[in-house]
Structure formats: structure tokens, C-alpha cells
């Protein structure tokens, strides 16, 4: 085995991961807190009023990061599902299972903030627009994943069945993302084309800070939840008894 794959395998062994993830999780939680506070300060305080939307646009600082995260988390799930199915890595399943409720929550936040933003912008809370609908569908996909995963008495079966669903469901991600380009819809098009952006820098930087903050927030939660997932999965092994005992 190469040095790298050896390292990878060590990292992926549940007991090792359990030990290692503790300090990382704590670090992530602090970074997330700081970034989100800075982002909120920048977005709600420092950024100038939008000349069209007034202060309403500030909801963006929650809406856009959570919408992005809703897509990102699903990709993480699909990737771990792949790793789990191909290399039979137990840790990967735990990551996917830990991510699903978080992704569902991000999706819910994106939907709610989007709706609230839609009332002043479009005059209605909901329209059957392509992006909105596909985001709603993404939410159902998360629910389907969670339900399927818990439907089997045998956790391994549930994990693998749900992993298959996640892989197939990943097709929805590009559809959500590109829906605004494929159809002219009410929803905003992509603001980022490559590295250039149409947003004014003073409005942009808090958004990017918020984005990073959300990433770390997710990182912290997913580590924390994965730890409890692996404890559950490995509850009949020696090392878990040691950990829980102490």
C-alpha cells in the first residue's frame, strides 16, 4: 500500500476517526461562529442599501448561502454514497446519514427565506418556477433518503439502499443549478460567471464570508453527527464500549 492510501484507511477507520474528529469539530465551530458574525455584520450593517430593493435584499445573506449549501450537502452525500458502495467504507455511510438532515434543514431555510423574499419582489410567496420547484423536489429527495435509511431494521441494508438513492438523485443537482439558464424564470440568474461577478464588491464580500461560515458550520455539525452515527453503527464492537464506558 502506498503511504497515501495507508493514511486514508487509517483515517477512515471508525475508532480513529472518532478520536481525530473531536478537536477538528471544535475548531470548526469557532471558525463558523466568527465568520457568520462577521458576515452578518458586513451584510446587515456595512453593505449599502440596494437602490432597487431597499433593505429587503439583505435576506440574501441567509438565502444564498443556505441555497448553495443545500446543493453542496447533497453532493457530499452522493460522494460518500459512492465511496461507501465501492470501497465498502463504513465511515462514508455514517457521513451520508449524518449529512441528510443537515441538508434538509439548509433546503428548508432556502425555501423559507426565498418565499419571504418573493413576497416583496414578485408579489407572492410561491410561484411554480423551475428553480423553486426543483429546490422543493430536492427537499423531498432529502426526506426520501432519510425515510429509506431508517426503514430497514438492519442498518447496513438501510445505508446501502439509501446510498443508491443518493447516487441516482444526484442528477437533480445540475438541474436545480442550471434551471435558471434553461428557462427564463422569475428567479435570479447566476450572479457568478466564472470568477467575475455582477454584484458590487461592498455587497459581495459579506456574502462570501457568510458562505465560508456556512461551510464551517456544516463541517462542524457533520463531524459531530457522524461521531454519534458511528457509535450507533458500531455499538456492538469493543472500542465503542470502551469509549462509552469512559
Amino acid at each position: 500500500m502506498t503511504q497515501f492510501s495507508l493514511f486514508f484507511h487509517r483515517l477512515a477507520s471508525p475508532p480513529h476517526f472518532y478520536e481525530l474528529s473531536k478537536p477538528w469539530g471544535r475548531a470548526f465551530s469557532w471558525i463558523a461562529l466568527v465568520l457568520i458574525l462577521v458576515g452578518l455584520f458586513g451584510g446587515l450593517w456595512l453593505a449599502p442599501r440596494d437602490f432597487q430593493q431597499g433593505n429587503g435584499f439583505r435576506i440574501m445573506y441567509v438565502h444564498v448561502p443556505s441555497a448553495w449549501m443545500s446543493l453542496f450537502v447533497f453532493m457530499v452525500m452522493a460522494a460518500s454514497a459512492f465511496v461507501g458502495l465501492v470501497w465498502r467504507m463504513r465511515l462514508a455511510y455514517a457521513v451520508a446519514a449524518a449529512s441528510a438532515p443537515l441538508g434538509a434543514a439548509f433546503t428548508a431555510v432556502a425555501l423559507v427565506t426565498g418565499s419571504l423574499w418573493g413576497k416583496p419582489m414578485w408579489g407572492t410567496y410561491w410561484v411554480w418556477d423551475a428553480r423553486l420547484t426543483s429546490e422543493l423536489i430536492l427537499f423531498f429527495l432529502y426526506l426520501g433518503f432519510i425515510t429509506l435509511n431508517r426503514s430497514f431494521e438492519d442498518q447496513q441494508t438501510g445505508d446501502r439502499a439509501a446510498a443508491i438513492l443518493a447516487l441516482v438523485g444526484a442528477v437533480d443537482i445540475p438541474i436545480v443549478h442550471y434551471s435558471v439558464d434553461w428557462w427564463q424564470t422569475l428567479h435570479q440568474g447566476s450572479s457568478f460567471k466564472g470568477l467575475t461577478s455582477e454584484i458590487a464588491p461592498s455587497m459581495l464580500w459579506p456574502l462570501l464570508v457568510m458562505m465560508t461560515g456556512f461551510m464551517f458550520y456544516y463541517g462542524w455539525l457533520v463531524l459531530w453527527r457522524t461521531r454519534s452515527e458511528i457509535l450507533l453503527r458500531e455499538s456492538d464492537r469493543e472500542w465503542t464500549k470502551r469509549v462509552v464506558g469512559s
Binding site: E153, D154, Q156, D236
Partner: protein, 210 residues
């Protein structure tokens, strides 16, 4: 290097239940194993694992001294597994079921062998009745005809004689002897004792599960 099947330190689990911590045995060509043990001791589970249906938790499997994977095509084509359920489509007749099975196993044109198998288990007269209209024992006879029509070196049979009448059990015993005489192997889980003349090479008694 021994020929035949060897199992080393197999761990047997079903759900969260540990059934056997470490099971080892060897089976030479021409021999058969009688699996016994109280209800729930893991006979069916062991057969499922060996057939490739169940998950192998830990342990080593060797065929002619070489380690193998239960889910490989190689192992599948040399093994026939017969479960509690007969594996027959109720809507199809016995003959149709056997033809379907031939297509599963990638055989072309086994009509003759199929006729012979049905004949052997005295089901020729009922071969075109949908299986769902057959009695329990008749269905089992059709299922056993499969073993006759399609060659395989390892039989994994889960209580093959349930629902068979005395004559049927005798037939089956003859059939098993033929199979062993031709160098085949078999692992049988059963509560009923087989006719005297069939002496298993090994008797494995699984323990009561905790």
C-alpha cells in the same frame, strides 16, 4: 492442497444476533454434510451465506485450496441453492418454471434433461399445471427436479424433504447418492433424519442461539 470445500473461522450473524463465533469444516468431493441444531440456531443462515445470498461477516472460504468469493459467477455456476420457498412462479407450470430456470443458468435447450427430471420425481403428468395449483409436496418435487436437470457440484439444500411423502424422500435419497457417487458435494439442513443408507460425511450441530 486438499480438493473440495473448506471453511475456516466463519462468523455467523443474522441481524444483530451472533449465531456462531467461529465455524470451520472441510468437505471432500463425494461427501455431504448434515446440518442440524435447534430452531433458530442458524442452519438456514449458514446456507444463505455459502450460496452468496447472505453477507459474509468474517472467515475464509476455500475451494480446492484456493480462496473464493461466494458472490462470484464461478461459485454461482457450480452451486445450486434450494431454500424454504420453492422458487417457483405460481403462474407458470412446472415445465415452464424449469425452462425459465434453464434460461437463468444460461443453458440452451435442456428439454430432455427437464423431462427426465420431472419424470424422475413423478411429475410428468402434472407438468403443465400452474404451480399454484399443486399440492405442497408436488411443488417441492418440481423444485427438486431442478437438481436433476441442471448439474452443479455443490448442493445447498434447506430442509429439502419437507412436504415430501415417503416415496419422495426415497427418490431424493437415491438422487443424492447418485450425485455424491459422481463426485458432487452437498450441505443439507434438516430436522428429519435421512434414510439409513445415507451416512453423512460430517454432522454439524449448531448450538442454541443466545
Amino acid at each position: 492442497m486438499s480438493s473440495g470445500l473448506a471453511i475456516r473461522a466463519l462468523e455467523l450473524r443474522r441481524g444483530r444476533r451472533l449465531l456462531s463465533r467461529s465455524l470451520s469444516f472441510e468437505l471432500a468431493p463425494g461427501g455431504f454434510i448434515e446440518l442440524s441444531g435447534p430452531n433458530g440456531s442458524g442452519k438456514s443462515t449458514l446456507l444463505r451465506v455459502l450460496s452468496g445470498l447472505g453477507r459474509l461477516e468474517a472467515g475464509e472460504l476455500l475451494w480446492d485450496g484456493r480462496s473464493f468469493n461466494c458472490a462470484s459467477d464461478e461459485h454461482r455456476s457450480r452451486t445450486l441453492y434450494l431454500a424454504h420457498t420453492d422458487g417457483l412462479k405460481g403462474a407458470l407450470s412446472g415445465e415452464e418454471n424449469l425452462h425459465l430456470f434453464a434460461s437463468l443458468r444460461q443453458f440452451r435447450d435442456r428439454s430432455e434433461e427437464i423431462q427426465e427430471g420431472l419424470d424422475y420425481y413423478e411429475m410428468t403428468g402434472l407438468k403443465s399445471v400452474p404451480c399454484l395449483r399443486l399440492s405442497q409436496g408436488q411443488r417441492r418435487r418440481i423444485a427438486l427436479s431442478r437438481l436433476r436437470a441442471f448439474p452443479a457440484s455443490l448442493w445447498l439444500l434447506d430442509e429439502p424433504t419437507t412436504a415430501l411423502d415417503r416415496g419422495g424422500i426415497d427418490r431424493f435419497a437415491d438422487h443424492l447418492s447418485d450425485h455424491l457417487a459422481a463426485g458432487g458435494m452437498a450441505i443439507l439442513a434438516t430436522h428429519q433424519s435421512l434414510p439409513e443408507r445415507l451416512k453423512p460425511a460430517i454432522r454439524i450441530a449448531l448450538g442454541r442461539s443466545s
